[in-house]
Amino acid sequence: MQTPQIDSARIAETSHGLERSEIERREKVFTVSDLAVHYGGMPAIEEVTLDVHRNTVTAFIGPSGCGKSTFIRCFNRMNDLIPAAKVSGTVLYHGADLYGRDVDPVEVRRRIGMVFQKPNPFPKSIYDNVAFGPRVLSMKGSLDERVEGALRHAALWEEVKDRLKDSALGLSGGQQQRLCIARCLAVEPDVILMDEPASALDPISTTRIEDLMHGLKREYTIVIVTHNMQQAARVADMTAFFSVVVAEDGSARRGVLVEYDTTAKIFTTPSDKRTEDYVTGRFG
């Protein structure tokens, strides 16, 4: 992978000045301990322990195949949909075990929203896309207001307010992704998970999504997977670096958490050699 050297001065400039102590004072939304995911007996990711704090943006970075997408899908139990996937270890959400015996994944997913790598609008009108969540959850209040509010929040309202009845598939890729964010916001989640939300978008749309994240973290907790290190540097308060460990006989590859710290620390003075190699572009 060719990655330009990251300018530490610029990181310092763009980071949000949040000290580690300040972040850690905030309420823990997720407490992950010793988490592992196996696909049909093969480990995809192992030994992950970290905390996610309220009103922060937490980024997961790392090379392809390090299991970061698999990991983020543990937070809203999306891995349940893959019969061969098995999750072990614990994920506490505000202190409650997400994988507890009587926890309903449907309830989990309405509190913990998700935006996917490829924009996936429903083949319906713009309005119906945003209204789908509130409708299936039978949310109270005016649907029109809720749709408008979500679209404004996602910085899409001005562009679509005159064509809410048009097909969502007629929007550009960047608009579709913001529509997916609006759709997620309409059900008032607590946390928003974003799995490489800008990887299929052009640079201008990417910037808009990143600006959006800065605003959204005031009300939401955001967890983002990205393969774009500059993006992590621009949006995240905390960054976790994942890497791939290949078994000695070369047969199995599994992802591990290498280092988890404030974004400024990860990009300027990482304590692990692997992190340093990755963020300076020597690894790939």
């Binding site: 949909l81 309405r110 609008p121 083949p123 789908f132 969540g133 959850l137």
Partner: protein, 311 residues
């Protein structure tokens, strides 16, 4: 086009480069072209053979049946005594009744089975694999076997409906059900996974996801399966002979009472008589059946297109 101001040498260079590119793009070997032409000819031959059979039947039916293409053909009931005025009224109604019954049965059953197999069944479980294998096999069972099944279990046996339209509908529905299930499964499977994930991630239940997102997208494909099934059902004669499509129903059919007849059965009966007039009548009956089939299929295609436009 080169600009006025461009030097002559530059214009020549551009023209040269252009023609070189063109040559590179058009150069394909003689053999490649021959192979392509032969393959294309084979494809045309296949298409031509299929169309030739269809066109022959159509032309033959029209030429042969032309003298009897009149209003009496559809308004009069069948008669063995006066072939000049005999018609197909009761058989047309019988066919329509049977087909409507089939549609009412196969749509919920077929789509329901397809939803279960695609969205809920765990393919790892042996019983689901057995069900799947059996559906594939059932689609290939000869229709006469379904006729015997219908006679033993629906007309007589546990259901004991007697020789009525409802028994015929049930029998033919069983016959075409595998086709509908297989086509519906294909249509449901073609809905992108990302749509399901998007709905589930918003806190929709599995049923809400299936009924509000997956099924509406799959409707055109499901309708295609239903069209194919109905087209097959309307032409079936063999199983109906066993479940009581009596040949000379001179009265209009009803769902649970009395005898009935259907178009293919009556055509078969007319065609097997020695008199020339009955042959003409049979040919005219073929046209009536084709028109009925075309009308039903057109309606289904119209319905499908309507759904496609509404995404």
């Amino acid at each position: 086009m080169a600009d006025e101001g461009t030097p002559r040498s530059a214009q020549l260079a551009v023209a040269g480069a252009r023609s070189a590119t063109r040559d590179a793009l058009t150069a394909s070997s003689h053999q490649d072209r021959v192979t392509g032409a032969v393959f294309f000819a084979l494809l045309l031959l296949g298409l031509g053979t299929a169309l030739l059979g269809l066109v022959t039947i159509l032309i033959w039916s029209f030429v042969e049946g032309a003298p009897r293409l009149d209003a009496e053909l559809i308004t009069n009931g069948p008669s063995t005594l006066s072939p000049e005025t005999a018609g197909f009224r009761t058989a047309i109604l019988g066919s329509i009744y049977v087909i409507l019954g089939v549609i009412v049965l196969i749509v919920p059953l077929g789509v329901g089975a397809a939803i279960y197999l695609e969205e809920y069944a765990d393919p790892e479980r042996w019983w689901n694999r057995v069900i799947e294998l059996n559906i594939q096999n059932l689609a290939g069972v000869p229709s006469i076997v379904y006729g015997i099944l219908g006679l033993a279990f629906i007309v007589r046996g546990p259901l004991d409906l007697g020789f009525v339209v409802a028994a015929a509908s049930l029998t033919v529905a069983l016959l075409v059900l595998p086709t509908v299930i297989i086509a519906s499964r294909e249509a449901i499977r073609a809905v992108p996974r990302s749509i399901r994930e998007g709905a589930l991630a918003l806190g929709a239940t599995e049923w809400q996801t299936t009924s509000r997102q997956v099924l509406p997208i799959a409707v055109p494909g499901i309708l295609t399966g239903v069209i194919l099934a109905v087209a097959r059902a309307i032409g079936e004669a063999a199983p109906l002979l066993l479940v009581g499509a009596v040949t000379f129903a001179t009265f209009n059919p009803s769902l649970f009472e009395g005898g009935y007849s259907t178009l293919p059965v009556l055509i078969y009966n007319y065609a097997s008589r020695p008199q020339e007039e009955f042959r003409v009548l049979a040919a005219a009956g073929v046209i009536v059946m084709l028109v009925l089939l075309l009308a039903m299929n057109s309606f289904a295609v119209w319905l499908r297109n309507r759904y496609e436009q509404n995404w």
